[in-house]
């Protein structure tokens, strides 16, 4: 007998059904923290434009305890977002080939991680040079 009354299940609390969904939501949520950090930097740049008084207020804010905690949180969010984003990178690229062989997704991920680490170190060195 054909069902004339199919049962439709609700999606309520769908993220509770699998840890992978919660990791996915965490990845998406890091974008909010990253967005807030971008706003904080924008505030700093505007303060620089407005003059020494405004810039001192901004510096005092980012150097306060809540300011430091926020920056640590932003660093963690950046690291997690970059790690997960680079893990997904091979999914967004056409299969890469070396001669007749396909380069595996793991290799692409590792290469991207290497490039990320190198760029980060280069930026840190440049920033340290600028501060001196």
């Amino acid at each position: 007998m054909t069902s004339t009354r199919p049962y439709i299940r609700s999606m309520k609390g769908w993220w509770r059904r699998h840890p992978a969904y919660r990791w996915y939501l965490l990845r998406e949520a890091t974008s909010v923290v990253i967005g807030l950090y971008a706003l904080c930097l924008l505030w700093g740049m505007t303060a620089l434009l407005l003059g020494p008084g405004a810039h001192d207020v901004w510096r005092a804010c980012v150097q306060s305890l809540p300011g430091r905690v926020f920056q640590l949180l932003a660093l963690a969010a950046f690291a997690w977002h970059a790690w997960t984003w680079l893990r997904l990178l091979p999914l967004t690229l056409a299969p890469l080939r070396l001669g007749r062989h396909r380069i595996s997704q793991t290799r692409v991920h590792r290469a991207a991680l290497g490039a990320w680490a190198l760029t980060s170190v280069a930026l840190l060195v440049a920033a340290a040079g600028g501060l001196r």
Binding site: S3, R5, P6, R17, E28, L88, R102
Partner: protein, 251 residues
Amino acid sequence: MSDTRTIVLECLRYHPERDEAPYHQRFEVPFTPEMSVLEGLQYIKDHLDGSLTFRWSCRMAVCGNCGCMVNGEPVLSCQVFLRDYHPGCVRVEPLDHFPIQRDLAVDPSDFLDKLAQVAPYLIPDPVRTPEDGPHRQTPQQMQDYLDTSACINCLLCYAACPQYGLKADFLGPAALALAHRYNADSRDAGRARRMEVMNSDAGVWGCTLVGRCSEVCPKGVDPAGAINRNKPAAALDTLRRLLQSGRTCTS
């Protein structure tokens, strides 16, 4: 038999003519090490309750009929073994995100409609007839679509995709992966026709890269990859249309 043990199968039941809502029913099933979850269901049907409804055909992970949720994971029930769940219990439910037709059988019509929308067949240009002989391609050209051509329409990826459950019109992993399969085939010229569907609201942009579809696929199709590789092409298509409409406006 000395290696026969007993395991509890907790099956979701729903008979529309009788039940207001689904409920779980427990069955004690004797099993041997080589018995799959599907064989456990068949034991119930043959010996305990003949009204239990579920789909299956090949029993060898080829037909894609026996997909269901086992302890919350979308799997082919002929491909997972009762021994691996013992001594725990095995909760068997119909594939998530599809309407339940009866017990473990879901209604796949939505997927079939969406599959038809992406024209999952070769559209050669110019049209070929048998007199033209075989339509050849190199092994390398075949590699471009071989992975995606392994899809058996089992719908496990749909049960793993929360976006499909949340957004009813999303074409979903397998339909989009199959669109990619034909687009990537050197013998096909239907890309522009499929692009209309792939670049629509229901197309590739509905995917937010949760990535579970590729993890659960029993055939290594990687629908998440297939979908996301088409996003640059879809973005270029939007740009082309914008430029074209700009040109028509100014002319």
